[in-house]
Each structure stands twice: as structure tokens, then as C-alpha cells.
């Protein structure tokens, strides 16, 4: 059963990812991204990370991709980019080399190393599967106990996002304002 789920999800993920890379039109790319994200979400569920799956769908598919699309529309850059050739000489071969190399080493490492994970992994924290609490409760405990600092930092992170956007999207008038005079 899980096999079936995995295969379907994997297909979704890969297809979507490839779509992002090869679809010339940003809008299409964004949509294929959604596909991947769904696939990931499915895989989360398959691994008992229901809450994450939900968040994945809401945050990513719901918010982020929409944001992407919004920008695409806003800026009107939905012209398809010509992917048959690459203006940078040698970029494609380089990309291939990097891709294959990376794939090679990662696969090699994973294949030779996963068992070690099993030998090592003796549930450091509370168990995932055979725990009385539901996934979300465990998550909450973890977030607010072990990772409370991280959690706080994320809040700072969001502040950065907000402030940054504000700073960057200032009226351009501000830039031509002569020195000394007060901003609008």
C-alpha cells in the first residue's frame, strides 16, 4: 500500500520538479511547483507527518505559489523564456556535470550510509509512531521545549521579512528627495 502511495507521489514530485525546470513560461513553472509541493505533502502524510502535510499545502501551495503567481502577473513577466539554447557558453554542460556529480555523490552516500542511520537511531526524543500523543501534540512539545529559541528566532525572521519589504518598496520619490528635507 505505502509503495503505491510512494510511487504516485514520487512521480508527482519528479514530474512537477522537471516541469519547474523545463517549462519556459513562469506561470507554468509555478503550477508545476504546486504539483511537486502536493507530492511532498503526500509523502509527509505517508510518513505520519500529517500536520506538516497540512502546513505544506496551506503555506506553500496556498501562500507562496500564489505569491509567485501574483508577482508574475504584477510584473507581466509571463513571457516564455527560450530554453532551447543557453546564452552563457558552457553553462549547460557545467550544469550537467554539477547535477550528475551531485547526484552521484549524494546517492553513493545515501546508499552506503542509511544503515548507519538505523544503527544509530535510537529515538533520542519521544517516539513518533508508538506515542500516546498525536503528531501535533508531539510537535508542539518539541517546538516549545527543545526548539523554543528557534521558534523565537523565526519570529525575528518574519520581522525581517516585513521590514525588508517595507524598506525595499518605499516610494521611489524618497530616493530623489534632496538631502535634509523630511520624507513624506
Amino acid at each position: 500500500m505505502e509503495l503505491f502511495v510512494f510511487v504516485c507521489a514520487a512521480v508527482m514530485v519528479i514530474v512537477g520538479a522537471l516541469g519547474v525546470v523545463v517549462r519556459g513560461n513562469p506561470v507554468h513553472a509555478a503550477l508545476s511547483l504546486v504539483l511537486t509541493l502536493f507530492g511532498i505533502a503526500v509523502l509527509f502524510v505517508a510518513q505520519h507527518a500529517e500536520f506538516l502535510a497540512a502546513v505544506q499545502v496551506i503555506v506553500y501551495a496556498g501562500a507562496i505559489v500564489v505569491l509567485f503567481l501574483f508577482v508574475v502577473m504584477l510584473l507581466g513577466v509571463d513571457r516564455a523564456e527560450d530554453l532551447r539554447t543557453d546564452s552563457l557558453a558552457g553553462q549547460r554542460p557545467l550544469a550537467v556535470v554539477v547535477g550528475l556529480g551531485l547526484l552521484g555523490v549524494l546517492v553513493a552516500a545515501i546508499v552506503s550510509g542509511t544503515d548507519a542511520v538505523i544503527t544509530r537511531g535510537t529515538g533520542v526524543n519521544g517516539a513518533t509512531t508508538d506515542s500516546p500523543d498525536s503528531n501535533i501534540v508531539q510537535l508542539a512539545r518539541s517546538v516549545f521545549a527543545d526548539y523554543v529559541v528557534a521558534f523565537e528566532v523565526t519570529s525575528v525572521l518574519l520581522v525581517v521579512a516585513v521590514v525588508g519589504t517595507v524598506l525595499l518598496s518605499r516610494r521611489r520619490a524618497a530616493d530623489v528627495r534632496p538631502e535634509g528635507s523630511r520624507p513624506s
Binding site: 500500500m1 505505502e2 503505491f4 510512494f6 514520487a10 519528479i14 520538479a17 525546470v21 513562469p26 513553472a29 509555478a30 511537486t36 511532498i40 509523502l43 509527509f44 510518513q47 507527518a49 506538516l52 503555506v59 506553500y60 507562496i64 505569491l67 509567485f68 508577482v71 504584477l74 510584473l75 507581466g76 513577466v77 513571457r79 523564456e81 530554453l83 546564452s87 553553462q91 549547460r92 550544469a95 550537467v96 554539477v98 547535477g99 551531485l102 549524494l106 545515501i110 546508499v111 542509511t114 542511520v117 537511531g121 526524543n125 517516539a127 503528531n135 508531539q138 510537535l139 518539541s142 526548539y147 523565526t154 525572521l157 518574519l158 525581517v160 521579512a161 525588508g164 519589504t165 525595499l168
Partner: protein, 106 residues
């Protein structure tokens, strides 16, 4: 049938995420549209997320998922900032792609 006997081991998930990661990497290298490059980065992040969840499950450790939770936030924040920057540039010169931004070099 086979589907019932063969269980996907964690390694499968890990390999899948590795592949996803590589696709994302290649995407960054080959795409010219900053937005799409950015999407590819998101792909990479998702690959990592998948890895986290898988390993967390493998280790009977919830923190795998917790970390993913944070990564989501990071991704969101990154998107906001990134899009802000891109918008700022695109406003100035519409339809610019990554290769057009090469004034600084040497």
C-alpha cells in the same frame, strides 16, 4: 500483490529527495528568470524537508518534523524578501533576466 509485500525503505525517500534536490540545483543553473530560479531554490528546500521528515521518522524523532516546520517559515520569509527584491528590480527594468544583471564583474 507486490505492492503489499514490498515496503518502500527510508532509503527510497532519501534518494527521491536527493533527486529532487539535484533537479532544483540544475534548475538554478539553467534558468534565467529570477523568479523561476527562485522556485528552483524552493524545490531544493522541499527536498531537504522531505529528508528531514524521513530521517526523523527513521530515528523515531519528532524533531525532524519540527525542523521542517521552521524551514517552512524560513522559506516563507525568504520568498517575501526575495520577491521584494525582484519586484524592486523589475519595476526599474521590466522583463530583466538574471543574465542581464552583470554590470558588476571582474
Amino acid at each position: 500483490m507486490i505492492a503489499l509485500v514490498v515496503q518502500p525503505t527510508p532509503m527510497w525517500y532519501l534518494l527521491l529527495s536527493a533527486v529532487l534536490f539535484v533537479i532544483g540545483t540544475v534548475g538554478v543553473l539553467v534558468r534565467r528568470n529570477p523568479l523561476v530560479m527562485f522556485m528552483c531554490i524552493e524545490l531544493m528546500l522541499n527536498a531537504v524537508n522531505l529528508t528531514f521528515v524521513t530521517l526523523g521518522r527513521q530515528l523515531n524523532d519528532i524533531s525532524g518534523q519540527t525542523i521542517v516546520f521552521f524551514v517552512l517559515v524560513v522559506a516563507a520569509a525568504e520568498v517575501v524578501v526575495g520577491l521584494a527584491i525582484i519586484v524592486a528590480i523589475m519595476r526599474r527594468r521590466t522583463g530583466v533576466n538574471a543574465d542581464d544583471l552583470a554590470e558588476l564583474k571582474g
